[in-house]
Amino acid sequence: MRKDILTSAIGMLVLTLVCGLAYPLLVTGISQVAFHGNANGQQVFVDGKLVGSKIIGQAFTDAKGNPLPRYFQSRPSGTDPADNDAGTEFENYGPNSVITEKAIAANIKQYIALNGKYYPGGLNASKVPVDAADTSASGVDPDISVLNADIQAYRIEAVRHLPAATVHGLISKYTSGRGLGFSGEPGVDVLELNLALNRLRTNQ
């Protein structure tokens, strides 16, 4: 009994030193040298100032939370406030819940209000892509679907006075394909896309 306690206690301490401290420190050391950008979150800078991470979604809204028409909009987020990476959480909307239906309907309404007048022939609920109406899992989903980006492109072209070819060129540029060609879905990185739009304006 006493020998088991002693052995276990020493074993646990050694395990803590090796697996709890040495292992993560070693991985950090190697990562910081070999994959410096990734290990620190793929930070993006504009004019030397940090503006976000390439793979963490942001809300492109004004201070009151209203979407800014000149930016592509991210997916609905379940965090408080939206796209808050310091406290990620699932929205946990149930599949048969009235609350879910109302939330989805509100997202659809907002999406149509923002994009309907620019979209040829107008938008209705059945034309809204699911990723624009459904809350993401992480609340900081960096991507939107290609269809979602294509619909929003009409608005961006009109608001920013840009030719369609330019906007669609940028969309394809910031679309990542499926992993290994089959795993997952293509996604358009919203932050990178919006930053590229801003760069166009400053270059003109």
Binding site: C19, L21, A39, E89, S97, V130, T135
Partner: protein
């Protein structure tokens, strides 16, 4: 549904099998003391570990000694993690608490310590608002290693009992743990974590990033040593997320590729152990039969879940959404799912992590459709035998194998025997108890939590609404904790945290203690029964197979085994499942 979705399913099964076979041979070599390619590196630290732990690895243990060492090792582990978590604020001097987080309340800490000790990784807390880097690394990750090792060594001990030709010995517990860490978990985690960083996972000790986005709104991005944590979390089928949203977070699971990779990592050891089993008992076909059983049930679960999620939810259809696949959109029930994983990547991932004891999620289970959400329920109801947790899966399905042999023996009217060893009344009693403890704990706790106002206080009525979803939340919480899984219909809460960093936070006694107790009981009681079965079988004489011996390595036995697993699960859980997910799946009605 898409072609790429179906491709993902079948490529996954192929790659998994191709990796698991050689990995199984490697594991068999490690636990049989044969030479492996890591010997030149690991022999020295191994000897060093034995010396400072004062272990004589040549001293063989019978099942009672093996169990005693295991229980004491776990008890010490529980005390250590409880201590580290409760003193979180005092470890700031290490520099590994840059956000200055305080400790969680005692009741939540009890739940969390029990959770990580038992390989459950049920989380009432959210990592980025609660845990310092020190707690994550020195507290939680250490138990990720230890609990995975404990699960594996119990399976190895049971294999030795079944294969045993030499009396009552099951090996040496401490030797098995040390070899598991050095030859399996540590080197693999190291490689996996670097692969994850190369794809975009983060690995640093920085303060969280505070900045103003391009629209000048203040924002914060959480940081930390994520990849090293993520690697062992998946490899050890632990599943405790560094962040609150677990593998849905882009820093934990950045791309479609990492999603595929992490799924492989979860199933690698559970699948390989089955092949290792065949090799160690000297009858590879026995391993193939068990692998076939697991794979049939796994594929069934994946296919049902994928079809259900691709169909979309009643709430979506009521709101007027069109959920078919269209050019540029994956369609389906994307509520609570990430764009980069899509429907297939989310459905397969959550089946992978609920058939095992992993419990990591890359999407919100609570937002799955009724039938899609019934799949994780069914996976848990099968008591972790479809691959299952590292080790726990193998020893659990071996108990079912013995039960199937017994039932088959009764049907043909012969004394049941497995691999030449007669299965007597004592073994069947132990097997039955080992199988029934987990479901009984789950149902007992669910009933208690549903019937009492203290239990109902944990239900998130704001989003789940009333009706069947509220019951599903509660049922899933105790089913998951009793099965040591750790995934959640995450609305169910046991921790109220108004501010990041735990100031002013408090737990809910009922949910914290009942859940913590269920995790401990439903982990260690079946382990003791499995070890007792191992001890009982170890000493038995082997009689040669004759003409009348029932074969346990052919298709007929696979069908019998699946029948027994489904029957036990269905008889136990069907009434409760009807009240929750199945009602939701069968109706388009909104509550």
């Amino acid at each position: 549904m898409t072609v790429s979705g179906w491709l993902t399913i079948f490529i996954f099964v192929g790659v998994l099998t191709a990796l698991a076979i050689p990995m199984g041979s490697y594991l068999a070599a490690v636990y049989s003391g044969e030479r492996t390619f890591l010997d030149p590196i690991m022999r020295v630290p191994e000897r060093f570990a034995y010396r400072i732990m004062r272990v004589d690895p040549t001293r063989e243990q019978n099942w009672k000694q093996y169990a005693k060492s295991l229980i004491i090792f776990s008890l010490v582990g529980w005390l250590l993690i409880y201590f580290i978590l409760r003193t979180q604020g005092l470890w700031s001097f290490t520099g590994l608490n840059p956000m200055g987080f305080h400790s969680m309340p005692a009741n939540v800490t009890f739940n969390t310590a029990s959770s990580f000790l038992t390989n459950t990784n049920w989380q009432f807390y959210g990592g980025e608002t609660t845990m310092s880097y020190f707690s994550q690394m020195a507290g939680l990750a250490v138990q990720n290693y230890a609990s995975a090792a404990v699960g594996i060594v119990v399976a190895v001990a049971l294999i030795r009992g079944i294969a045993g030709r030499t009396g009552s010995s099951l090996g040496n517990f401490y030797q098995d743990v040390v070899r598991t860490i050095l030859w399996v978990l540590l080197p693999l985690s190291f490689v996996i974590s670097l692969v994850l960083v190369s794809q975009g996972s983060i690995q640093n000790f920085s303060h969280y990033l505070n900045f103003h986005g391009i629209q000048h709104i203040a924002q914060t991005i959480a940081m930390g040593p994520v990849a090293s944590q993520e690697a062992i979390k998946m490899l050890g089928t632990n599943g405790g997320g560094f962040f609150n949203v677990n593998s849905a977070h882009p820093f934990e699971n950045p791309t479609g590729f990492t999603n595929f990779f992490e799924m492989l990592v979860v199933l690698l050891i559970p699948a390989a152990l089955v092949f290792a089993y065949g090799k160690m008992v000297g009858a590879r076909r026995q391993g193939y039969a068990i692998y076939g059983t697991m794979m049939v049930m796994f594929l069934g679960a994946v296919i049902v879940c994928y079809i259900a999620e691709a169909h979309g939810s009643p709430a979506q259809h009521a709101a007027g959404l069109h959920t078919a696949v269209t050019a540029g959109s994956t369609g389906g029930n994307l509520e609570g799912k990430e764009q980069r994983f899509g429907i297939a990547g989310s459905a397969i991932f959550n089946v992978v992590t609920t058939v095992t004891s992993c419990g990591a999620v890359n999407s919100a289970l609570e937002s799955f459709t009724g039938i899609g959400g019934a799949v994780p329920f069914a996976n848990l109801s099968a008591s972790e035998v479809i691959f299952g947790g590292v080790g726990t899966g193998l020893y659990s399905i071996l108990l079912y194998v013995l039960l199937a042999v017994f039932i088959g023996g009764l049907m043909v009217g012969r004394t049941p025997e497995y691999l030449g060893k007669k299965i007597g009344a004592r073994e069947i009693k132990l097997v039955s108890l080992g199988i029934l403890i987990t479901p009984l704990s789950a149902l007992f706790c669910t009933a208690l939590a549903t019937a009492s106002s203290a239990g109902r206080a944990s239900i998130d009525t704001a989003v789940a609404g009333g009706g069947p979803q509220a019951f599903s939340e509660t049922f899933y919480a105790y089913l998951s904790q009793a099965n040591n899984n750790g995934s959640a219909f995450a609305g169910y809460t046991g921790f109220i945290q108004p501010n990041a960093g735990n100031l002013g936070s408090h737990g809910i006694n009922f949910a914290d203690f009942l859940g913590g107790g269920a995790m401990l009981f439903a982990r260690y009681a079946p382990i003791l029964f499995a070890l007792a079965v191992a001890g009982s079988l170890a000493g038995k004489r082997v009689s040669p197979a004759g003409l009348g011996t029932m074969r346990t390595d052919n298709g007929t036995f696979v069908v019998l085994l699946i029948g027994v697993i489904v029957l036990v699960g269905a008889l136990t859980f069907f009434p409760a499942m009807l009240l929750g997910p199945i009602v939701q799946g069968l109706t388009g009605h909104l509550y």
